[in-house]
Structures are given as C-alpha cells and as structure tokens.
Amino acid sequence: MTLSEDTLRRIDEVITHYPVKRSAALPLLHLVQEEKGFIAPEAVAWIAQKLGLEPINIHELVTFYPMFRQKPIGRRHIKVCRTLSCAIMGGYRTCAEFQRQFGTELGAVSPDGEVTVEFVECLASCGTAPVVMIDDELHEKVGPEKARELSERIKAEAKR
C-alpha cells in the first residue's frame, strides 16, 4: 500500500501520542481512510504491521466502528440522522428526499457515482433537527426542501 508523504508523517507523529502503540489504531484508520476513501484488506494488514499487531486486531475495529468503510463510497457522503429527535422532526422524509434526488438505495453508491446516502445514529445536534452531515460538514434543519437544494448543489459541482 502506498500512502502520501504527508499521511506517513502524520501517522508517525500520532503514534508518539501514546505510551502503547496499539492506541494509535483508530487514528491510523482515520488517516488511511481520509487518503484512500475506505479501508481495504491491505490497509488492515499494513496498519497491523505498523503497530505490531495481528491483522485480526484491526479487522475487529474496522467492522465494529460504523465510520470505517470496507468499500468505496460516492464522491460525497450524505449522512442523515435517524435518531428520535431528528425522526420526529421529519428525518425520514429528508432521507427519502436525498434518495429520490439521486435515485439511490441506502448505503449504496448512487448510479451516477456522486453520492452515498446513509442513515446514521444521533449526530448530537438535536436542537436543530433534522440534521445531515455531508462529508465533514453539518447541515441543520434539513427538511425536504433544503435536501433538494443541497442535492442540486452537489449535482452542480459534478457538472463542473
């Protein structure tokens, strides 16, 4: 597996934060996923070796934590909060709207490759429900109308 110089430098730096190397497992998974988009089996093996662990130790983490992906996703990742406060404020409708906009199933890459729409659990912004995260960016009070606007914006980016 090849990683950029910058990622490798950040990996080596973050390992120094911990008295026990294994603690750097989550940080390394984040860094590798940021660069590669997902965690491939070779990444699991690479991280395990880097930290002096067995690959199963990393595989157990990748499959436990929902934020780690084992497959590529669409260009933008749309995560709609599913939990109570958002749901009672219409989160399911918001999610359905994103799916309709991109003609896609939950968790799948949309046919145009632009997005992956997912339901996720509580994003801790319940006071501005329903909320949606598009990649690292939080969008608040996203009803169907705003979902349409956000979708249009993503589609416009794609055309550029």
């Binding site: 109570l84 801790a124 319940c126 006071g127 429900a129």
Partner: protein
C-alpha cells in the same frame, strides 16, 4: 411562576457576537487567568475545592466529581491519566458540541486545572468521530495553548507539564461508557470492562489510575477554581449545585440549549416559557428528561410523595410541568437528569413508533459483549419494528416489558439500563397505546413523521 433568568456560566460567551474560538479572544475575555492562579496553589487544595463545590458529573450518571478525584489510587506509583469524555452521544444531548466548537479554550483551561490538581501528565480528549471539525478546532486550540505555555512541558513555568491529545472515535455510542471508552482508547473494541475489578480510578487506561470526566464537568472545574468550592455550592440547589445546560429538542417552538442554576427551573417553565410551548395546534404528550435512555414522562401524570426540603420532609404532588430540573428531583419521580437532553413529543407522535425508533438506536449501539443487552436490545427492536410494519398483537406490550426486565441490572455496563428503561417506561405509561396499536394503526394520521 415565571421562569428564572438563565445563568450562563459555561455558555457565557457562546453565541456572543464577535466571540471567536481562538486564544486571543479567549484571553481578551480573561482566559487562562483562573489557571494561572490555580497553579499557585497546592493540588490538594484544588481537589478540596471541587469536593466542597458538590459538583456532579454532567455526562449522565451525576456522580460526585470530588469523590471521583478522591478515589484515584495515588499510591500505585503508576502515572495517573485524565480522559476527557467528549463522545457526546446520548440522543437528545448537544451541549458539548458547542463548548468544543465555540469555546475550546474554556475546556482546555478546565482540563489543565483538573490535571494539575491530580498530577496528571498526559491527557486524552476522546471526541466522537462525528465531530471532525470539533477535533480540528481542539487540536488548533491545544497548539495555541501549548505555544503560549498553557499546556505542554513546564506549563506556565511551574515545572509541571501536561500534554493534551485529541483522540477521535468512530461512531460508537458505547464509547461514552467510561471503560468502553478506555478500551477504545487502547485500540480495542470498546467492550466495557467488568467492575470489579476494573474501576478506572485504580485499573483504568493501560491499567493505570484514570479519571474520566465529561466536557461540561471539566468546564465547571475551571469555574470552581475561580470562585472557590463554597461559592460554587451556593449556585443551584443543595446536592444539585452549579449550573446545568439543558438541551431541548423535538416538538417545542424554540428548541436549543439553555443554562440554568440546577433545580431552579421546572420542566413546565422550560418547555412553555423558555422554549415557547408546543407547536401550533399541538399539545405536549411526552417528554424524556435526560437523554433518550431516561424514563419517559407522560403529560398529565402526577407524582406524589415526600421529599426533603432543608431539614424537614414535605409532601409533594407534581405534574410533569412542576418537576424541578435537577438530579435528585428527576430521580425521585423515577427518571433521571442524565445528560441534560430533553426530548419533547407532542400528540402527533405514536409512542409505539417512538419506542421503535429508540429500540433501533440501542440495538444498533449494543456492543454485543454480554448476553442480555446484545440479545434483548435486538429482540425489542424486532418486536417494535414488527408492530409498526407488520402485525401488532395486544400482548406485545407485556412481552416487551418482560424482555426489558430481563436486561436491566444484569449486564456488564449501564447500557443494559439505558436500553431497558425506555421500553419499561413507555409500556408503564402508555400501555394502552401499545395494546390498541394494532387495531388503530389504520387510523394513524397521514403526514405524521415516520419513525421506524
């Protein structure tokens, strides 16, 4: 009675026009002055101040912060760790988000005072993975603070030093449980540890004595160091001292975060006055007072009994609206203050569907380590999902309650209670709705929000 004014201590500058999250702005507003003074004192004195303050943890359990500090094993010769629980993940709770994003230096100052008091030399902020910006903001703030000598080696020229590192989670509610968090921080699946023997105060991170504190709790430590424990204890009500941030979400006119002296505002004042009451044409039906795992309250129910008022016992007869928003009152009426997340549901909500939504959350978040929670949480989800999408039997409510009763109190960690309490309380308070759900399903109003 009119609602009292908010007392914004932790959230003093949040939403203040022109207030930014950088060091310069924080210092212009007196930032790190408390720490400077605290570093002139003996660590033991600072722990004493926290004890005197009566501060209770703001993460959920409401455990005494001073007691937590005093339980730490200081004779082991091993390093002592402080871990900041910034995994804010109890549904309905969103206070730490704003502290981290908008006033990170307040948190860092609180952390450094707690570390100095406990002679901690390395601390980790475990921040939930869904706060990527928050993590960056904290890292930047730590770098600024370090450059200015507020953390890192030889902090403030005191000879004492402490490093703060940000550690990102990756989407697992169970990491909010302190021993699950510690396992996660050690690079393992966040399976909560059995207690005994693994009490963090003795055998925590890397089997060393460890203090795990919530973000808001540590901010309070800064204010306690500032004003002194005795002065702090005068804020709020006895045994429920200080201020507390209440996060209101759901069916109110003005959802959001509000900081009050603990116990000085009632549920009715909070929802009707502060938050503007129900949405137009609606009435309140139910409220969950302390994050989604807290037992639900039904508008119209009465709570009667005797309570302590000063030295004497007095009778009380409260409706939901009359309950003071403090740890003890909410516990007394059978729920809890928890994490301060108040979720309001109006008469448009079906309690069966709301429970189905909650059950889906807890079954998704059960780590799967111990049998009752692992199997029970998914079973409850399957029952409520079937009730909503398939056949709902009149006896399903009783079955749900029985399953929940087989979980609570029998698991490794408090998740067992967290996933059982919603079911137990929904059935106890809305049992008829569960009995009649199947028959009345066809009459559910069109346009009601889908929850399951």
């Amino acid at each position: 009675m009119a609602a009292p004014e908010q007392k914004r201590m932790i959230f003093r500058h949040i939403d203040e026009p022109g207030y930014t999250n950088d060091l310069a702005c924080y210092q212009r507003n007196g930032g790190y002055e408390v720490m400077r003074k605290a570093f002139q004192r003996k660590p033991e004195e600072l722990i004493d101040e926290v004890k005197k303050s009566g501060l209770r943890g703001r993460g959920g359990a409401g455990f005494s912060c001073g007691l937590k500090f005093s339980l730490v094993d200081r004779k082991s010769g091993k390093p002592i760790y402080l871990v900041v629980n910034a995994d804010e993940s109890e549904p309905g709770t969103f206070k730490d988000r704003y502290i981290i994003h908008k006033d990170p230096h307040q948190l860092i100052e609180g952390i450094m005072i707690a570390c100095f008091a406990n002679k901690v030399e390395r601390t980790f902020i475990y921040i939930r993975g869904e706060f990527p910006d928050g993590a960056k903001i904290l890292e930047k703030a730590i770098a600024e603070a370090r450059a200015a000598g507020f953390c890192g080696p030889n902090t403030l020229g005191s000879g004492y030093g402490c490093e703060i590192y940000v550690h990102r989670g990756a989407g697992a509610y169970i990491c909010g449980e302190e021993t699950g968090l510690i396992e996660s921080l050690e690079g393992k699946r966040p399976y909560p540890r059995i207690k005994p023997p693994y009490y963090p105060a003795v055998l925590g991170l890397y089997q060393c004595p460890t203090i795990v504190n919530n973000v808001e709790t540590l901010c309070h430590v800064k204010h306690i160091a500032d004003m002194g424990g005795e002065a702090y204890a005068k804020i709020g009500t006895p045994n429920n001292t200080g201020t507390r941030i209440l996060c209101v979400s759901g069916h109110v006119q003005r959802p959001g975060y509000y900081e009050f002296e603990v116990g000085k505002v009632t549920m009715g004042q909070l929802l009707n006055e502060v938050c503007g009451g129900p949405l137009p044409g609606r009435t309140f039906k139910a409220v969950i007072p302390g994050g989604s795992s807290a037992k639900v309250l039904r508008f119209g129910e009465r709570f009667k009994g005797k309570r302590k008022a000063g030295a004497e016992m007095v009778e009380y007869d409260w409706g939901v609206e009359d309950i003071p928003m403090d740890f003890d009152s909410l516990a007394m009426i059978g729920s809890m203050g928890g994490s301060g997340g108040v979720i309001v549901m109006d008469d448009s909500v079906s309690m069966v569907e709301a429970l189905g939504n909650i059950n889906a959350f807890y079954s998704h978040e059960s780590c799967g380590q111990c049998t009752p929670c692992r199997e029970g949480s998914l079973w409850m989800k399957k029952i409520t999902a079937r009730m909503v999408h398939g056949e709902a039997r009149p006896e399903d409510g009783a079955l749900l309650k029985s399953v929940a009763d087989q979980i609570a109190g029998r698991t490794i960690c408090a998740f067992g209670e967290a996933c059982a309490w919603p079911t137990q309380s929904f059935i106890a308070k809305f049992g008829d709705e569960f009995k009649g759900y199947g028959a009345g399903k066809a009459q559910r109003p069109q346009g009601a929000a889908e929850l399951v």
